[in-house]
Amino acid sequence: MKDEITREERVDNLKGMGCSRKRVEDARFTQGKGNYVDDLKLDGMLFGDFVRTPYAHARIVSINTEEALKVPGVLAVLTAADLEPLGLHWMPTLAGDKQMVLADGKVLFQGQEVAFVVAEDRFAAADGIELVEVEYEELPVIVDPFEALQSDVVLREDLVAEDGSIPDGAHGPRKHPNHIFTWEAGDKEPTEQVINEAEVVAEESMYYHRTHPCPLETCGCVASMDKVNGKLTLWGTFQAPHAIRTVVSLISGIEEHNIRVISPDIGGGFGNKVGAYPGYVCSVVASIVTGKPVKWIEDRMDNLMTTAFARDYHMTGKIAATKEGKITGLQCHVTADHGGFDACADPTKFPAGFMNICTGSYDIPTAFLEVDGVYTNKAPGGVSYRCSFRVTEAVYFIERMIEVLAIKLNMDAAELRRINFIRKEQFPYTAALGWEYDSGDYHTAWDKALKAVDYDGLRAEQAQRVEAFKAGKTRKLMGIGLSFFTEIVGAGPVKNCDILGLGMFDSCEIRIHPTGSAIARLGTISQGQGHATTFAQILASEIGLPADSITIEEGDTDTAPYGLGTYGSRSTPVAGAATAMAGRKIRAKAQMIAAYLLEVHDNDVEFDVDRFVVKGAPEQFKTMKEIAFAAYNQAIPGIEPGLEAVSYYDPPNMTYPFGAYVCVMDIDVDTGVPEIRRFYALDDCGTRINPMIIEGQVHGGLTEALAVALGQEIAYDDMGNCKTGTLMDFFLPTAWEVPNYETDFTVTPSPHHPIGAKGVGESPHVGGVPCFSNAVQDAFRPFGNTHTNMPHDHWRIWKTANDLGLHG
């Protein structure tokens, strides 16, 4: 047989790995045809919404629902007293703590859920909420975790024994009623010794402020209990639908096969949609009580003020080095503000997430990390906002410590990084705090980045600018922000990664249709990452069918195989690997079929792009399309009909993407206004599946990094009032505030991943925050600045200048 098209054209037709295939999702998203949970309308559907406390810490004296129930359309008002008989007035958190579903005697943060008003529509619910009368008795408010650890005010009476003693928490002993855990990694004494004996030690305290992932779509759900067949269907904005199913089953007692969880289109998650919220529980209960579907959708203020926040880490570090700048040891202490309940979404064994990646990209022989979790009167959460578990905090910490050390050594910070990088030949590299980095080539990436931006030229220009400033010729300073980050993503190996006891593997199930198209289902769920596009590309390359002929489906627990969902840049490292492995099972069976059809031995055929060919005789072949048809329609001795495969992938290790970022910023000293002149981002995410999607992820992640570094925060006053509950004050950058990003890459595949891919969604955020922050700090370095805290909004930048005496 003669081919009409070349091999290259056959490769192109697949639109497989490495192709900038256009996102298949965009046709519906750009036409407003997405299907989000709030688009769902069911017959007789009711609407529930919360009465929330205006006080951050108060006892509930009484709740009177009489007037609310008189509002036309209001059907019921649930309080903790109604949930208690079902055992649902509290629920477990992902962090081993428990959380009130509805205020049980007291409230612990402003906006906490007090009562759930169920009405025929959301307007009646809103009017009902106004009329629920709650009498509060105010209690002293604690918003500072250091104060919490000294205070006599007990936030969580439920965690203190009757004799006043403090029982252990989920992560061991607690030293104060408001203390949650102490978590340690590394070696304390050896690290202290290194620091005590070091030639140079730099110290710094820094606060990584509280912020919020703020996805465009807020959280919400629709619960529908079918009393006839006993089945509960729960649609919602879930980043981990299977985990939600299991949790709902465990806390409600409904058997898991009677629960169907569906995540429809999700408008961004960034960690905010991993955990379980009182709205889910109340909607389920309300549906069981009323026998009707019940919808709950947060508004923007609910989302910002009450659902999972991120960061809020007070970090203190010591970094030891030789006079030449070789780092010898690192110590880090964190006081972590977790709010009123510990609702962090971390793997069980890691109450501070992967904060122990804080030795960063450097060969640091000795290190010690200690984290204290603390309760305060703030909203619970502590999720990973576009980063793998607490990696943003870790990378910010080390990338600031490097800068602080460079100042102490009077050294160039780029050079200091270079002499301390883990060298290429050291991989796989076991870090002092335990992780085994899979692969990396940091020096190559660094050199490429510095060359691309003409680093030496930038430094020369900066020196001139400082002179001009001192001579009164300009009021603008120039900052060069550097960051080199190593991410740790793809959680994770079941041997050390679980959430609530659920192992963090992931899965893919493939069915090839007789005519040579396919459907693949995964345990993950896209929230904008473009899974339907990229996973089809992985499969296209693995099984030789065009990506355009492969449907990717996620998010329906009745059809998708069990998986732990999408967050922490885990989809490609884990489910992507499962996809490749399932594809290889398909290919193995296809090989046997091809050999039969070609009348040769199995080993005499080999895979070639979209077909199996007879070795040495490429004109004799069977395409995958032909093989698919034969699989179903031809009796082949010894081979079952059909062409399907499933793979559950338990990754042998995490993956370690890395990157080198440079930001050039001009700062108006008099107004505090920063202007980003240039931002260069080199990412190494291993094998690149779709360069266009990678670029999009980098742009998005950098924009969220810019937001966090330059102004985005959840701030409280002393009374625990949230000061940034609307988008008027919570900084969400628009196209206007965003600079032009230059993206670049190197490729260092992961040696243990089937296709060598490492994940990229979160890298730009993780690496971007310290880069923007370092640029601000670097601008003031010539005037004596060592560190100032984020967010670097106008007034704080102005204050830095003012404190340094730059306003004359």
């Binding site: 307007f123 940034t724 505030e737 106008h794």
Partner: protein
């Protein structure tokens, strides 16, 4: 974010509006573009049992630029201002300022009348109109009256307008000389951290008149007569700029908010004013 229940009216003429206002008194409010009022209602900070939409009333959407001055109907949107060439030629500061208000979507809806009648110290047009010495025309049951912008603002959300009056137009003499509207904000769509409106005339190197108003630095816009006076007769040397700035700082009274503490706002107000004066001077 759902407002309390309200009655919605859409009268076809001013008589209809006025009779509704008379009937419902305090319980009624007119709505122009709704981009200040509706958010307040959704937050349940404004309780408006009777909402009177002005969109169908007519006669308030014209911009006229003539020898006798400029007249801008209350329902003219911020976007109309930006697009109007004759207006931009006659009073370019209006376009410069309007381009710094909110974002394009808001500017399609937000009106001049709503912006100046609202009484929110964050609105940019009140200070702008004070700088331009504009006059607001108010129509009520007893007929119409004119109030100078410089006498209109009493406190946050408190103005010289009576509850049963509608603001129908803004009139001003075409400004002469150089102009600048300078605004510092945290992001697009944000109200000012500090903003300055400046109109200035010169003869040779001497400043012959200067009008200065500041935004979001007190509970009302601040027309700083003293700041303008400090410039007149000078060559706008550093001393004059410093004097103008000092005079302005004597007139404003900012409060701390998420944009920053008082010391920062006062400093930025001085910087912004200086820049506005310099730019206006260079255009005079």
């Amino acid at each position: 974010m759902i407002p309390a229940a309200f009655e919605y009216y859409r009268p076809k003429d001013m008589a209809g509006v006025l009779s509704l206002l008379e009937e419902h008194g305090d319980d009624a409010r007119v709505m122009a573009g709704g981009h200040s009022l509706i958010p307040m209602m959704k937050l349940r900070m404004a309780d408006v049992p009777h909402l009177i939409d002005l969109q169908d009333v007519g006669g308030m959407s014209e911009i006229s630029v003539g020898a006798d001055g400029i007249r801008i109907g209350a329902m003219v949107t911020q976007s109309d201002i930006i697009d109007h060439e004759a207006l931009a030629a006659a009073a370019p500061i209006l376009r410069e300022a309007a381009l710094q208000i909110a974002d394009p979507q808001v500017r399609y809806m937000g009106t001049v009348g709503g912006n100046v009648a609202n009484g929110d110290p964050g609105n940019d047009m009140p200070g702008l109109m004070q700088c331009l010495d504009a006059t607001f025309t108010l129509v009520g049951a007893d007929g119409s009256r004119d109030v100078p912008a410089r006498d209109f603002y009493e406190a946050a959300y408190m103005t010289a307008r009576e509850d049963d009056e509608v603001l129908t137009a803004v009139s001003l003499a075409a400004p002469t000389g150089g102009y600048a509207y300078e605004k510092q904000k945290r992001k697009i769509g944000d109200y000012a951290t500090a903003a300055a409106a400046v109109q200035i005339t010169r003869e040779g190197d001497t400043c012959t008149s200067a009008s200065i108003a500041m935004t979001n630095l007190s509970d009302t816009p601040i027309f700083s007569e003293a700041a303008g006076a400090a410039l007149v007769g000078t060559a706008l040397d550093d001393g004059a700029l410093t004097a103008a700035s000092a005079a302005m700082l004597g007139d404003i009274d900012p409060t701390e908010d998420n944009r920053g503490p008082v010391a920062f706002k006062r400093h930025v107000a001085g910087v912004i004013l200086r820049r506005a004066i310099e730019r206006a001077w260079s255009r005079a």
